[in-house]
């Protein structure tokens, strides 16, 4: 069996720095909520109003949305669409790339304007990019430690219990 630690990890310090940036952004832009999703569809964190939808499903769809649009961009000869905007009647979404590995999703209603969101997101993306570059550089030079064998044993027991006798 191959041994393969996780490709990157995310510490409490990273989370704190990112959360502060997101909170400042929400305060300055009047957006309701900001989510960070990695490109594989996993939710990293949320800030602002707690979403009242299934955020796990939301993250997988947001990543798929962004990836599909990436491919569309390359088909029309663009390197990428670095941001996407979905307008609803009451709620809208603005998605932006962060360091090519993470997607920032901002949810806002008519208390915020698209122009303001656009400007504030641009600044936020710059700040988040710095933090994530550090996270990824750290992962590249010192890959995440494999998880303890005790964790794996416990997880396998749980798999047996959940998927076992059916």
């Amino acid at each position: 069996m191959m041994q393969r630690a996780a490709s990157w990890s995310f510490s409490a310090d990273d989370a704190q720095r990112i959360n502060r940036l997101l909170q400042d952004f929400l305060h300055g832009s009047s957006a309701r909520c900001a989510l960070l999703v990695d490109r594989t569809g996993q939710l990293i964190t949320t800030a602002g109003e707690q979403p009242d939808f299934d955020s796990t499903a939301f993250a997988s769809l947001a990543a798929a949305d962004f990836s599909a649009n990436d491919q569309l961009a390359s088909m029309i000869g663009e390197q990428e669409f670095s941001s996407l905007f979905h307008q609803g009647e009451k709620e809208s979404m603005y998605l932006a790339d962060v360091a090519k590995r993470v997607i920032l999703v901002v949810l806002f209603d008519d208390r915020a304007t698209l122009g303001m969101i656009r400007i504030k997101v641009k600044n936020l993306v710059g700040e988040l990019t710095e933090v994530f570059r550090e996270v990824f550089d750290r992962a590249a030079t010192a890959p995440a430690q494999p998880l303890a064998t005790a964790w794996a044993d416990a997880a396998e027991d749980e798999i047996d219990r959940l998927f076992g006798s059916r």
Partner: protein, 192 residues
């Protein structure tokens, strides 16, 4: 490429069900959705056409619960099997931790199985992944149908590296959890 989030103490692992069109990938996920305890699974998201063929993917998160302080979750995805959806298939493989190849056991689908397996190897290679080094399980589905190829023939054509394989009847749930159990255990081992 699972991500360990030490801040929220979460580990998410991605398992992708791959294989030819109409082989039973979505059926596998639907059975898992039906049978696991409702509090351990999230919403089953299906991006399908009007005729219920998978257009982009199906997605089902399954929670293992909190293991040694880490909330551990499997994200199960299917890909669209039809040949012309390759761009979508490739996108779903991004960040995959383990693959379940669902083969259609019917004799007339052998070529489609082989083509899908080649396509899987090609798409993994584009992400720099080698299937021999990735948690990998094969499921021979539709074993209840009359015109099926013997498992030995399927093994010879689809499983040169002898990864674990299971016979299944997805519509009745036979073999579905055996397959998932093996794939998820391999993924867990690969992280420890």
């Amino acid at each position: 490429m699972s991500m360990i989030n030490y801040a929220s103490r979460e580990i998410n692992c991605k398992i992708v069900y791959y294989g030819p069109g109409l082989g039973g990938k979505t059926t596998n996920l639907e059975y898992v959705y039906e049978k696991v305890a409702p509090n351990t699974r999230g919403k089953l998201v299906s991006l399908a056409t009007e005729t219920e063929r998978t257009l982009f993917f199906d997605f089902l998160p399954v929670d293992l619960g909190t293991i040694r302080g880490f909330k551990t979750r499997f994200h199960l995805y299917t890909v669209p099997g039809q040949v012309y959806y390759n761009a979508s298939r490739k996108l779903i493989l991004k960040g995959v931790d383990g693959v379940v190849f669902v083969a259609d056991s019917q004799v007339e689908r052998l070529d489609a199985n082989i083509e899908a397996m080649h396509n899987l190897y090609d798409n993994l290679a584009e992400y720099g992944l080698d299937p021999r080094e990735l948690p990998f399980v094969i499921q021979y589905n539709k074993r209840d149908l009359p015109n099926i190829a013997p498992v030995s023939e399927l093994e010879a054509n689809l499983n040169p590296t002898h990864v674990p394989s299971f016979e299944a009847v997805g519509t009745r749930g036979i073999g579905v959890f055996d397959t998932l159990k093996e794939a998820s255990k391999q993924v867990i081992k690969s992280l420890s």
